[in-house]
Subunit: 543 residues, 2 copies
């Protein structure tokens, strides 16, 4: 490789031509270009971009005055509120790292996160004092506690500290001259994985990745100027897929929402002309199963970005009829949220509904800002053939992959072995290059030496009109090693027996894939709407 060409002389990085990539620059721009545009709606509250920026600068200035700076962790336990948006800017403006805590963790798990992240500050919503209080008692660290008392929260909960969030902001300077990070590789946020097994791992994001994924969201979502975005996805989850930063690029309006309820969603969509929202499949179910009295006509076709599980055909057609345009995304905490999109081909519009649903169920292709996506054999690192059937591990590489796991070099090295991030998800590559998940490694059921995809069995169950949700796990079996065990949640008023469902599946699946056991009841879910299969696995073992 030639290393001293004419282009290697006197053409160096200087401040004029090289600045750190950071999403913080997007808010600075939005506030300058569209100062009066509404940035935040929350109940009756309206805040312009000038006001949002001023409040973020106040926050940064007040935190800096209290000694918070580069590499300090600022933890927050907040619902989807204006304060949560402000923290996404004000905290990293000091050089500190934003750690958004899952509001549905128990106090022991919260205490673990505070200690592991070495939190210097905890900003906590009054609603969550019941878990935050004991967590602070259990934790070894003693962060500065700041209470956020949101007027929109009228339920129980109490203040924990001596300092109020608004009082902290009042200490700050609305014109604070904050500095861009010295290095775009600097950490911007810390996200603990929801941890279906073992201790949570601390995923570290950097300014470069957050800036790029935010651009990627605009391109992939086709966001025009001034979208109106409804906060149904928790901002504590992968920093709300980076949408707190994304919206500043296009000067969009954040519509806050403390609790995901169908009536509030329909009302806010109608009142504010919502154009986009994101959410797990559970949010689509909520919208579709809402009683007529809670519904309101949509203002126009609303873009809905979903991830976590492929949308079943019935849900997709229901959403289309209800006026939503659903885009299926895929990603992990480790990839800043979504980094893969089910890019739609116009020609597919002509396919029959079931074939469209089959296309839509595929996870798809990389975002333009993710440099590599592949399905590989994790042992040999060889790509699997693009045959739609050979299983391999889904792998990613690029600038929207995390820096690594905090204080866990062993896990980081394992995740990045062979030059790619190992997602832990098993999948196939179709002939057209689209990736489709088949299962997480541990969700594959091996029965009589045959691999059974639990997703495939769940899909078959989901198509039954009485089924609201279904999860299939392995049940140990003396003869077969494992057999599929189905947990099924029926729709209100829906009726089906175990025999009905097995007969239904028999028409759709090879016989070795049929569930040998069907158990009815509500499925246990994580705070982000993922079914907790490890609990079901325990039940299957016991039952």
């Amino acid at each position: 490789m030639r290393r001293d060409t004419i282009y290697d002389r006197d053409l160096d990085r200087v401040p004029a031509n090289h600045q750190p990539l950071t999403p913080l620059a997007y808010l600075d721009r939005a506030a300058r270009v569209f100062p009066d545009h509404v940035a935040v709606i929350h109940g009756d509250l309206r805040r312009s971009y000038a006001e949002l920026y001023a409040r973020a600068r106040r926050l940064a200035s007040a935190l800096a005055a209290r000694g918070i700076g580069r590499g300090d962790t600022v933890a927050v336990l907040l619902a989807n509120t204006p304060a949560m948006i402000e923290c996404h800017y004000g905290v990293p403006m000091t050089g500190a790292v934003l750690n958004t805590l899952n509001t549905r963790l128990d106090s022991a798990a919260l205490a673990f996160c505070l200690d592991h992240g070495e939190a210097k500050v905890l900003i906590t919503d009054r609603e969550f004092s019941r878990i935050a209080g004991p967590a602070l008692e259990q934790a070894g660290v003693t962060p500065l506690v700041i209470d956020y008392d949101d007027p929109e929260h009228t339920g129980p909960g109490e203040r924990l500290g001596s300092l109020d969030y608004e009082a902290l902001l009042a200490e700050g300077d609305p014109a604070h001259d904050w500095a861009m990070p010295d290095d775009e590789w600097d950490a911007i946020s810390l996200n603990y994985t929801s941890g279906t097994t073992g201790d949570p791992k601390g995923v570290v994001y950097h300014h470069r990745g957050a800036a790029l994924l935010a651009l990627g969201n605009v391109v992939t979502g086709g966001l025009a100027q001034h979208p109106v975005y409804l906060w149904t996805l928790p901002m504590f989850h992968c920093n709300g897929w980076c949408f707190p930063w994304t919206l500043s690029i296009v000067a969009g309006t954040h519509v806050c929402l403390r609790q995901v309820r169908a009536d509030a969603m329909y009302r806010l969509m109608a009142e504010h002309g919502v154009t986009h929202l994101c959410g797990a499949p559970i949010v689509m179910s909520l919208l579709l199963n809402a009683p007529e009295a809670e519904r309101r006509p949509l203002p126009h076709r609303v873009a809905f970005f979903t991830a976590a599980a492929p949308p079943p055909e019935a849900v997709l057609s229901g959403m289309a009829e209800a006026g939503f345009a659903v885009t299926h995304l895929y990603g992990l905490t480790e990839s800043y949220g979504p980094a893969v999109v089910n890019a739609w081909h116009d020609a597919w519009d002509a396919l029959p509904p079931d074939e469209q649903a089959a296309k839509k169920a595929r996870q798809g292709v990389r975002y333009p800002v993710l440099e590599g996506l592949d399905v590989r054999d994790p042992e040999t690192m060889e790509p699997v053939p693009a045959d739609g059937t050979t299983l391999g591990e889904v792998m990613m590489r690029g600038n929207v992959v995390m820096r690594g796991y905090l204080k866990n070099p062993t896990a980081t090295r394992a995740a990045f072995a062979g030059g790619w991030f190992h997602t832990g998800d098993l999948g196939v590559k179709h002939a057209d290059g689209y990736v489709q998940l088949k299962d997480r490694s541990k969700d594959i059921i091996i029965s009589g030496g045959e691999n059974i995809s639990s997703i495939e069995v769940e899909d078959a169950l989901f198509k039954h009109p009485a089924v609201a949700a279904a999860a299939v796990v392995a049940k140990p079996d003396e003869r077969w090693g494992e057999t599929p065990c189905a947990f099924v949640e029926l729709r209100p008023g829906g009726q089906a027996s175990a025999e009905d469902l097995v007969a239904w599946c028999r028409e759709r699946l090879a016989s070795y894939k049929l569930p040998r056991h069907v158990i009815f009841g509500e499925l246990p879910k994580t705070s982000t709407g993922k079914v907790q299969k490890y609990l079901l696995r325990e039940r299957a073992r016991e039952g």
Copy 2:
């Protein structure tokens, strides 16, 4: 600054989480995701993204086999043809640097560029043999000459070398396993400034900046999936404002065009459903002044991005009536083309046409991918007040500013003095932060100690119904130092005397700003449509 925080340990850049930013990755993605979508239209030719990518890889492979690699300059003298698009990918895939030469230079200037850039290869369109032949004779370098014989060119010109472009591609491997650049700071292209004064300077772009400006175009232009883009802007000009790379992000269709003529533009827009085009104001004039027989109805509202000069009110309203949505951009060769946008506020739609035109005439605000834009005193580097009247120099900083001028550290240092890129354009900052050009430093006329903006006088002249184009320069004057001298091109059939025009201006300008001389005739323009004021200055001095 804390330098050893928990975030500074064991969270390093590795291939899984850090890849060079490069626009080359966009074509790879488009070809994988939308292999069959039409990438290039040229006459009757249609090429899909799979074909475009295969041809770019053939080109890269063939050049590499002939020893072309990192830091080598590959010069091209091409019209807006499929080969030109292929070169934007195939050349940098080898690590080499693409130098797109202005097809309207004379042979001496071409020879200068070939020598200064140390060209190893010249790919040249048969049409330009008349200048390329002598340039090769005059140049000291002896590049490998490759002839591109475009079937759409049926005019004169001959082959110069022994190697044909298609024969070169036939040597290459369509599945060539090219490598991303090692470093996103590596040069991707070399653009010689059009040089209204002195020798051209070689502006060096890098992969990082090109990748980011391409994303910025998608965001700023609101490009959805599959736009259809008409090539009216020369690709030799700032790499066509990076649109050869931009379109791959959204899998758009390039509609090639060798010569900018109204009939061809209208025909192609109608036939192919063109959604976007870019061009200097001269292109808008061409469209608006086209005879009825050359016009065709537009397929829908067409987005037109213009730069180089603020669009006059009459042109704006004419374009709106004709069905175009005009966006005013601003930039320089040094900023990868446009890096500033006249971001429109919805509220301005309610203003009367003249006030809308006044808003639209402002250059505006930074692209989301430009980190800094300001108007400053070039001596003290102090920002001017945002009062709309205090003149300063427009300055930029960020990742879409060039690496520098090739082999010219003195000019590079001067351009980047004080941590900002000095554009050489004089302007003001309005109360809302929008920047407006008043003049290039050398275009300011100083008369009796007062600064006169030549743009202001030109604007006044342009509003006269008989005026097609106007340029105002300084004429040396014994008493006043300088006085404004106007060169005016009348519309076909338009009639106005010098006295008429001065009287017209008197109603609109302070008397010291009135042109003292008015000279009628066609204005000399550069190949990119800029009026060559240095020629007018000579005439004014002599006349």
